[in-house]
Amino acid sequence: MSRQDALVTADWAEENLEAPGVVFVEVDEDTSAYDGGHIPGAVKLDWKSDLQDQVVRDFVDRASFEKLLSEKGISNDDTVVLYGGNNNWFAAYAYWYFKLYGHDKVQLLDGGRKKWELDGRTLTTDETSRQQTSYQAKEPDNSIRAFRQETIDAIGNKNLVDVRSPDEFSGKIIAPAHLPQEQAQRPGHIPGALNVPWSKAANEDGTFRSDDELGTLYGGAGLDGSKSTIAYCRIGERSSHTWFVLHELLGHSDVKNYDGSWTEYGSLVGVPIELGAKS
């Protein structure tokens, strides 16, 4: 995997809006963003209602994913180009999720909605209609998904990368600074975790930094390239962004996203927690 395979530029996207076999998909938590104007031809996925099981705290199962993509008019042969707001957080989450269910031809629009809007490129409220397909998903590829016991076992053995802000890492706050404070029972981080906020991997306009800058960033933070890595945040979407950087852009081989993240870990009874900034 490399930058050319995993990312497309806004210029490329603009030239390929009507290309056969290319489907643009906007992924946001706030679907009013899509409804207020989206990239021409793009379909919408709602991070919460489409991709999360509505009862159990987990993904939708394979059959539901097949049904969802079929209804959206996405076929197995299509190249899916994902984009969204929040610096592509949820688009990166969806990217990881598409990979998990075995869709190989998936790419992220570099800079997402933000760069597209700042560039003044076209957005439309025209409804997108695509013909229903019969999408076939594969069994989930759990080689890119970490679960809680595996994360606990990784303490002292693997790279743990906490991609939240320094104040969330140290335990000063439990949720990002633009949200009311809520969620996990206890603040702090997993002992031994590195703190490399996701935002350090992105430029101001939401595009990813260069491979050289990214290599220096994680190397400088102490990420040992010879070890496996688990990334986590609060609910698994910002860590998808970092998973994308480490696994898809930098090509590290064994990188998992712990989507249970701090809301799960920080609510478990008896697990080790560390407070304070990195020494």
Binding site: D28, E29, D30, W47, G85, N86, N87, W89, F90, K114, E117, L118, G120, S165, P166, D167, K172, I173, A175, P176, A177, H178, L179, P180, Q181, E182, P197, S199, K200, E204, D205, R234, I235, E237, R238
Partner: protein
Amino acid sequence: MCGAPAQDTDLPTGTDLARDTVLAGRVLADGEPVGGAFVRLLDSSGEFTAEVVSSASGDFRFFAAPGSWTVRALSRIGNGETSVQAGGPGLHHTEVAVG
């Protein structure tokens, strides 16, 4: 919930201004509100902390901690930034001019 809630001026239920440090304000260009601007909260070392999109009335809001902050706005008509000193909990108002 990890997306930005509606950036209106009413504070969400459960906000306790005796406990919470809220930075709120508007993005303006020549005195007129700028909606759809990307408003970034940077800490005292200039590191990114959070980002929201301003409402149609130019309003934005962050839940932060006491300290020195920079609020930087990116918009199609230009960028701008301002500093905010949040000495303690409560509602701290600011305005960011872009252009």
